[in-house]
């Protein structure tokens, strides 16, 4: 864990965002302290603190004096909105650029998209099904 190119604090922040989006971390749930982070992953406590500071500034986490750090209400919705926005520029745009480089016509791309999109709309029954039922905003 934490061995990529990104600074470790950013990897921690991304991991927490991911946990909130996936529901592993629920809103109003307490997150580990920076000390617990540091000893669990053998990283500098200041690094964990930096990740927390970033998430607090974003409104994903908040601190309760003397109690610890918690996931803010509305954090999941906010993170999903942000990701949906970035999906087009970060995921779809490069894919379309590659299609243009390879001279793949729009019709081929869009007919593939329509078929493939229908397939991925049916998530594997084991995992996300329970959650999708409780929160319809998932697949907007």
């Amino acid at each position: 864990m934490f061995d990529g190119r990104e600074p470790i604090y950013r990897q921690i922040a991304d991991q927490i965002r991911q946990d909130v989006v996936e529901g592993t971390l629920q809103e109003e749930e307490q997150v580990m302290s920076t000390t617990q982070y540091a000893t669990t992953f053998r990283i500098n406590p200041a690094t964990a603190a930096k990740a927390f500071a970033e998430l607090i500034a974003e409104g994903v986490l908040y601190q309760r004096r003397g109690l610890g750090t918690f996931v803010a209400t509305g954090a999941r919705r906010m993170l999903l909105a942000d990701r949906r926005e970035r999906y087009f520029t970060e995921v779809l745009q490069p894919a379309l650029e590659e299609a243009a480089r390879l001279d793949i016509p729009l019709e081929s791309v869009s007919s593939y998209v329509e078929r493939a999109f229908a397939l991925v709309q049916q998530p594997p029954a084991t995992e996300a099904s329970g959650r999708a039922a409780t929160d319809g905003s998932d697949d907007a």
Binding site: P7, I8, T34, T35, A38, F41, R42, I43, N44, T47
Partner: protein, 310 residues
């Protein structure tokens, strides 16, 4: 932030004709954990011994909170240097604990006892009769339990077995979080410990090669792999610290920040040319920078750690 302001100005130390430190300028970030990295003979131990005032520099000046630590008992009480060799050879563990308890006001004997238990150091045995790993573990326990505002570990975990090393890392982080202080850990083996560092100071042949936040350094190593001509075009204008060739394929390691030096679109530009970009670990970067074969060594870099915006 606790821990003294450590300033090293133009410090040179020579042993006879051997120059161990040659005009070192550096600041040690107060209240942070700094990794002091360098090859054997780079001057790490000499620098730490100078910080602990075990030795007076031949030239230059070291100050802790503006004062010279040399023969300054008050300041020395706030500094703890743990050396691999250990400094208690003819005492047994109990006598050594009693000695440290009597001279160090910040020393926690209960914590030391707990650490010796955890590191499985046999009790009531002479320090010089312990195995190398046990002696290191004993030193580590003393160093942690001393809770000195300036704590210096010189290659302390060498010789410890893996479970003891990991126990040491965990204790170091937990106790540092509870009692923040300035900690400097020297080593040439950094893979296991680099994530614990907030700052990294690299010494090479008695000089400061780098002194910067670990996160900054972590982003500096980029390896570009692909067809020779495309690689050379991509890396032109950047600092290449190593080149490996396999036929027409070249892997060039750059000392360049992925974002600010190569530009935010670096990944895309590389992909468009069929090049692969790889992350280079601090350990690899260190090996390339200090191998003496750097294709194009970086300029001696900033000597004061620049505080990143939090």
């Amino acid at each position: 932030m606790t821990g003294p302001e450590v300033v090293i100005q133009d410090v040179s130390v020579a042993f006879g004709r051997t120059e161990a430190l040659r005009g070192v300028n550096a600041r040690v970030a107060p209240g942070a954990i700094t990794g002091l990295i360098g090859r054997n003979g780079a001057g790490k131990s000499t620098l730490l011994a100078s910080l602990a005032a075990f030795r007076k520099p031949n030239a230059g000046r070291i100050t802790l909170d503006g004062q010279d630590p040399y023969e300054n008992a008050g300041l020395m009480a706030a500094t703890c240097l743990i050396r691999e060799s250990g400094d208690f050879a003819d005492l047994n563990t109990g006598q050594a604990l009693a000695l440290v308890t009597s001279v160090r006001s910040t020393f926690s004997r209960p914590y030391a006892e707990e650490l010796l238990e955890r590191f499985r150091v046999p009790r009531r045995r002479r320090i010089d009769k312990l195995s190398r790993g046990q002696r290191s573990a004993f030193g580590a326990a003393i160093g942690l339990a001393s809770r000195a505002p300036l704590t210096l570990f010189d290659e302390v975990y060498l010789g410890m077995d893996a479970p003891t090393r990991y126990a040491f890392y965990d204790e170091l982080l937990a106790d540092y979080a509870a009692h923040p202080r300035t900690i400097v850990i020297s080593s040439h083996l950094i893979e296991e410990v680099e994530r614990m560092f907030e700052y990294v100071l690299v010494l090479d042949e008695g000089r400061v090669l780098l002194n910067e936040p670990a996160d900054t350094l972590r982003q500096r190593g980029v390896r570009v792999i692909g067809d020779e001509r495309a690689v050379e075009e991509f890396v032109s204008g950047h600092t290449v610290i190593s080149r490996q060739r396999l036929g027409r394929t070249v892997a060039a390691t750059l000392f360049a920040d992925m974002g600010s030096d190569l530009g935010a679109d670096a990944g895309r530009r590389a992909a468009a040319k069929g090049l692969e970009l790889e992350h280079v670990s601090i350990q690899d970067l260190f090996v390339h920078l200090t191998s003496g074969q750097a294709a194009d060594p970086p300029a001696r870099a900033a000597e004061a750690p620049s505080k990143e915006p939090a």
